[in-house]
């Protein structure tokens, strides 16, 4: 796990207020700086620092792949410890893999590698799944979403 990075009250306010709703106008940073009571140059510096120290992983539009005609699928594998490094290297190397997490179950579910594939077409998903299965020699279980009940990734900074 990464070391905690020190952030001050203004950083907290910035992160809490800026997880959505960034304005689309001529000078959006000046507008946001006004909400926060700082000037534009300071806001830009803070954003640069928060990105450089990885407190923020991104700043910009968040796209919904399905709405672009693309596809987005969660998949899992049960990877034996002895194969872990090899399979991880294979999965992480595919540009279609947007996230990959190691997870451990409370109840001994064998699936320990969970990743998300994002491609521009359904066929792209099938091709990537096939490449991983052939390359690893292990089955991949896909969990395409049937229905989305809620998605809101906004989290307040913990004090």
């Amino acid at each position: 796990m990464p070391e905690p990075v020190l952030i001050d009250e203004v950083d907290r306010a910035l992160i809490d207020h800026l997880q959505g709703g960034f304005p689309i106008c001529e000078e959006p940073y000046a507008e946001v700086a006004g909400w926060l009571g700082i000037d534009e140059a300071e806001l830009l510096e803070r954003l640069e620092r928060l990105l450089a120290t990885r407190v923020l992983t991104r700043f910009g539009p968040m796209f919904q792949v399905e709405q672009m005609g693309g596809a987005f699928v969660l998949a899992a594998m049960a990877v034996p410890e002895g194969d872990w490094r090899r399979v991880r290297a294979l999965v992480d190397s595919l540009p279609e893999v947007a996230h990959n997490y190691r997870r451990e179950s409370e109840r001994h579910t064998p699936f320990n590698m969970w990743f998300v594939l994002a491609t521009e077409s359904e066929e792209g998903i099938a091709a990537a799944l096939r490449r991983i299965e052939e390359g690893s020699g292990l089955p991949v279980f896909a969990f395409p979403k049937r229905r989305e009940y809620f998605v809101e990734m906004k989290l307040e900074v913990r004090r």
Binding site: M1, P2, I15, L18, Q19, G20, G21, F22, I24, E27, Y29, L44, L47, L50, L51, R54, V55, L56, T57, R58, F59, G60, P61, M62, Q64, E66, Q67, M68, G69, G70, L74, D92, V97, A98, H99, N100, Y101, R102, R103, E104, S105, E106, F111, W114, F141, F143, P144, K145, R146, R147, E148, Y149, F150, V151, E152, M153, L155, V157, R158, R159
Partner: protein, 161 residues
């Protein structure tokens, strides 16, 4: 529901998927880069936002860095005929950040309702999972929680160039 993007939209997605320029007039910079008017950049972004191609514009925090060191994927086996009603109710809980109906993979995987929970510790996440269990009551036939122990890769969504 899929909406194909035209060529300029696509170039705008490519130009912004790593992030917005950190300059006073970011949309003007994108416009110069793409050879179109700033007003067109802004109109296209507004249209993509209204149409759901863009979920939102803003900052994506690293959960660990802002105090959410435990992230649990709670998974539940609930009857198919109840899942839509239950999924909406679980999604309304304030600590649930994502909630989906996904297929079972029998016999390995009996769970069809996935609810992602973020907290400051595993104990906190497990308390939250207990709240979900209470809400589901007898409708939950089995459940599990998968904690993330390592982020192996996180690049966000990308489309090709």
């Amino acid at each position: 529901m899929s909406r194909r993007l035209d060529d300029i939209d696509r170039r705008l997605v490519l130009a912004t998927q790593d992030g917005l320029p950190l300059v006073p007039r970011p949309y003007h910079q994108l416009a110069a880069q793409l050879g179109i008017a700033p007003s067109e950049v802004m109109e296209r972004l507004l249209r993509m936002l209204a149409g759901g191609v863009i979920r939102r514009i803003g900052a994506v925090p690293n959960h660990y860095a802002i105090g959410y060191t435990a992230n649990g994927m709670s998974v539940w086996d609930v009857p198919d005929e109840l899942i839509d009603e239950l999924g909406v109710r679980v999604g309304e809980l304030d600590f649930v950040t994502h909630c989906y109906h996904r297929p079972r993979r029998l016999p390995e995987w009996p769970y069809n309702l996935f609810a992602m929970v973020h907290g400051g510790s595993r104990a906190e996440v497990l308390h939250q999972v207990d709240d979900i269990a209470r809400l589901l009551g007898a409708a939950s036939r089995a459940h599990d929680v998968l904690f993330s122990t390592e982020i192996l890769k996180k690049t966000g969504l990308r489309i090709g160039g």
